[in-house]
């Protein structure tokens, strides 16, 4: 087999953080290599350097034995490398065709020939069995379809090496299976493939070879045949990992959160939540499983008072709440760990202390009337930094200086340190290292055991299964089924998530 890509002694650092430390690996034609590692292990940095989006500090990259100039994306593309990005690199207001031809436009004189371009897209789509409508606008397409366009865009330039960055994050288990087939098919055609992932199951199903990264270093290379999931996990984390979360039996009480007939529009004014009923009792965790973009975000925001409720009501502790009043919903005893901590959860240019009282800044004891009480704010911060093990030099430091896991701890500390009846936790462990994940999971269970009702929304099916007492599956804006965790089964849940009748 011919060596397609060779990476030699690549090092890249950001400030004082070494993201990639002396990494070497190679990919052969027709081979599927999985880059496995947890968040922050340096996988994305590595492939971005390969694709020319980042300039490595040291090291060489060879494609077909030819050394690549650092940071020259155009040259990398010209040598037959394509990339399917985790955040799709598509222009929302443009058509499928325009997106695919961008950078390599078929021309008629000096003008773009849309006719030629559409023909090209149709041919591509037939060749690889990925059906798309060339004239549709990207912003009108569902996520799975957008990914198809992204793949076609990468394939449109005679690709011989294709990089997938966390491709299954937005897919149902069944769609994931389909994608795995597509990738294997490509490898059969002689394309070399790099897949970045932190999901062990996919690695086992897909890879010819696994390169495991930890703290920016290659800690091992193996094959699925030589290893198993537990072994890979241990390589990835560097110690024995408890894949299961230990928790006692739930002791559910009265309903503390009731959602009745809720309908919510998304930002594009389309109905995203189409009549949802659910109940969370005190002392239980209700997990909402589902592929992202099926209305979970809108559901959570509407429950927490941040989004207009077109229809229906939300009761916290038996009392009705008004929409578009996050303050009032919060006062009623609902705490909310938001999905996007950078966007909603934190003001990164504020101190940790201010972030720890962000939604109570005008309440006793942090404010007396019109005046803020700085000593109470400081006392609270000292306490919570210790209690929640937030790793910082000082509570007066800016939140922007914290790592992802510690930022999330700030949010969780703030939300759990108040009187709460209901905790809404949306994607609570996203982008967080394994150590912090364990800590956060323990905190969620502790909140449950303390008598709160917990609504957990997560795109990680494993997280839902291991934490929830009951699981509601959301698809197409409705709850398609609610089952007891005892009956949880990945396959069954996957079919429900895809909107198929079980």
């Amino acid at each position: 087999m011919a060596t397609l890509l060779q990476v030699k002694n690549l090092t890249k650092s950001f400030g004082s953080v070494i993201a990639n430390n002396n990494i070497s690996f190679e990919v052969n034609a027709g081979e599927i290599v999985a880059l496995l590692g947890e968040n922050g292990a340096g996988k994305s940095t590595l492939v971005k350097s390969v694709f020319g989006l980042l300039r490595p500090d040291q090291g060489e990259i060879y494609i077909d034995g030819k050394q690549m100039a650092p940071g020259d994306t155009a040259a990398v593309i010209a040598s037959g490398v394509g990339m399917v990005h985790q955040h799709f690199q598509l222009v929302p207001v443009m058509s499928v065709t325009e997106n695919i031809i961008l950078g390599d436009e078929p021309k008629d004189g000096i003008f773009i020939s849309i006719k030629k371009a559409e023909k090209k897209v149709r041919a591509l789509s037939e060749k690889f069995g990925l059906a798309v409508d060339p004239t549709a606008n990207i912003e009108d397409l569902p996520v799975g379809m957008q990914q198809r366009v992204e793949i076609l865009k990468a394939l449109s330039k005679d690709v011989r090496l294709l990089i997938f960055d966390e491709p299954t994050a937005v897919l149902t288990p069944q769609e994931t299976d389909e994608l795995i087939l597509v990738i294997k098919n490509l490898a059969q055609l002689g394309v070399g493939v790099i897949v970045i992932t932190h999901k062990l199951r996919e690695v086992m199903a897909l890879a010819d070879r696994v390169v495991v990264l930890r703290d920016g270093k290659v800690v091992g290379t193996t094959t699925p045949k030589q290893s198993d999931e537990a072994g890979l996990a241990q390589m990835m984390v560097g110690r024995n990992v408890v894949l299961e979360v230990s928790k006692g039996a739930a002791n559910p009480g009265q309903p503390v959160l009731s959602v009745k007939g809720l309908e919510v529009f998304d930002d594009r004014k389309l109905l995203a939540v189409k009549g949802v009923d659910l109940q969370v009792r005190s002392g239980e965790i209700l997990g909402i499983a589902g592929v992202e973009g099926n209305g979970q975000r809108e559901l959570v925001e509407a429950i927490c008072g941040m989004r207009v409720r077109a229809k229906g009501e939300v009761l916290v502790g038996g009392m009705g709440t008004k929409d578009m009043h996050p303050h009032a919903v919060h006062e009623a005893g609902l705490s909310h760990i938001p999905e996007d901590r950078e966007k909603h959860g934190l003001v990164s240019s504020y101190s940790i202390a201010d972030n720890l009282i962000l939604n109570r800044f005008d309440q006793q004891p942090f404010a007396r009337g019109w005046f803020r009480n700085m000593s109470a704010i400081k006392k609270n911060a000292d306490l919570l930094v210790k209690k929640f093990d937030i790793r910082t030099t000082s509570p007066a430091a800016l939140a922007s200086a914290l790592s992802g896991g510690n930022k999330q701890k700030v949010v969780i500390a703030r939300e759990l340190s108040q009187d709460l009846q209901v905790l809404v936790a949306a994607q609570p462990t996203r982008g967080v290292d394994v150590g912090s994940i364990e800590f956060i999971h323990k905190q969620l269970i502790a909140a449950r055991d303390g008598g709160a009702g917990v609504l957990l929304v997560s795109a990680e099916l494993d997280e839902i299964i291991s934490l929830s007492d009951r699981i509601a599956v959301m698809s197409g804006g409705i709850i398609v089924a609610t089952i007891d965790n005892k009956n949880a089964d990945r396959d069954y849940l996957g079919r429900l998530m895809a909107g198929l009748s079980a």
Partner: protein, 337 residues
């Protein structure tokens, strides 16, 4: 090539627009039969008033389409008309003035590109800097007592100039007028139908998708902002060397800001902006003509504020529908890690 043009002509002539076009032609025809002298005068001044605004709006469109908000158009106009005037006056040569105007306009574009693209400064503050620097520079170096040898003469285009109405309105103009109008049409086709336009729009909407397609975001941004500046320089040259023939402190008199209004009014589309500019030119010309004819008396300030008021009203009532390039105003930085 021919096919592309006919297809584009078709897309321009969508039914609703055709009706408006006929209505406008009908109105002009009626006005022309009633009072041909005034109608020609109004139509010609609509172009005269509207063209510099349209040209200045192109500066904004080219910049914003490529993701750079440019509120420094006013500074570009001021700088370029200053240099255009004084270089022409000192050398007693209009061509040198024209070159100086274009070069100084391009220099303001280069400054804006440097501040916003390379240094990733806040684009509004960068534009403010361009404006304030231009005011300081031109008012400090301004000297009284200079005059131009002439202004650019009008060129009657043989044949076309004899067409009734249209000949007088369009085909007896100065060279910059012709060039400006042609440039606007070319820009329209370039933005919507060439690889450069597709890449430019992609950068203005979602720069990383252009970057990951192997397009140099930096280079296109620089090129576009500098060309836009040069065209703004041409606009300045038009004002001083073709239209007015003099220069004073604060000469651009807010035209650069009106151009922003026209850019938004025309929905970041060159043809749309041209029509909007001609419409505002028409309002001004009509009011002037009505006053000359002694028919009504609308105070000048109310005519002058029309573009601003209409822009606010239109924006207020079409909230969410009028959407500029999504990435305008944001510096592009490759995502880390």
């Amino acid at each position: 090539m021919v096919g592309v043009v006919t297809k584009m002509t078709k897309s321009v002539m969508r039914s609703k627009k055709t009706i408006y076009l006929y209505l406008v032609i009908l109105a002009i025809a009626i006005a022309y039969t009633i009072n041909s002298v005034s109608t020609v005068a109004v139509a010609a001044s609509s172009i005269t008033f509207g063209l510099p605004l349209a040209m200045a709006a192109m500066v904004g469109i080219m910049c914003e389409r490529t993701g750079v908000v440019n509120i420094g158009i006013e500074g570009t106009l001021l700088t370029s008309s200053f240099f255009g005037f004084f270089v022409a006056a000192l050398s007693q040569n209009l061509i040198w003035g024209l070159i100086a105007a274009i070069a100084s306009g391009a220099a303001t574009g280069l400054l804006l590109a440097l501040l916003t693209v390379s240094w990733k400064m806040d684009q509004i503050i960068a534009g403010t800097i361009v404006n304030i620097l231009a005011t300081g520079l031109t008012s400090f170096f301004y000297k009284q007592g200079y005059s131009l040898p002439a202004i650019f003469p009008r060129w009657s285009i043989p044949g076309l100039a004899e067409i009734p109405f249209l000949g007088r309105v369009l085909f007896q103009s100065g060279p910059i007028t012709y060039f400006g109008l042609i440039f606007i049409l070319v820009l329209y086709f370039a933005i919507y139908h060439t690889p450069w336009g597709l890449r430019t729009r992609a950068i203005g909407e979602h720069p990383s998708s252009a970057d990951t397609s192997g397009i140099s975001v930096l280079r296109i941004k620089y090129t576009n902002v500098v060309i836009a500046g040069a065209f703004g320089g041409l606009t300045g040259a038009y004002l001083t060397l073709e239209l007015v023939g003099s220069f004073d402190r604060g000469f651009s008199a807010g035209k650069g800001f009106t151009a922003l209004a026209i850019m938004i009014f025309g929905r970041w589309n060159p043809i749309g902006a041209l029509l909007a500019a001609v419409f505002f030119g028409f309002a001004q010309a009509l009011a002037n003509q009505l006053m000359i004819d002694g028919l009504v008396n609308i105070p000048g300030p109310f005519i002058n504020m029309l573009p601003y008021v209409l822009t606010i009203v239109v924006l207020a009532f079409s909230a969410g529908k009028v959407r500029g390039p999504a990435a305008a105003g944001q510096p592009y930085e490759r995502e880390k890690a």
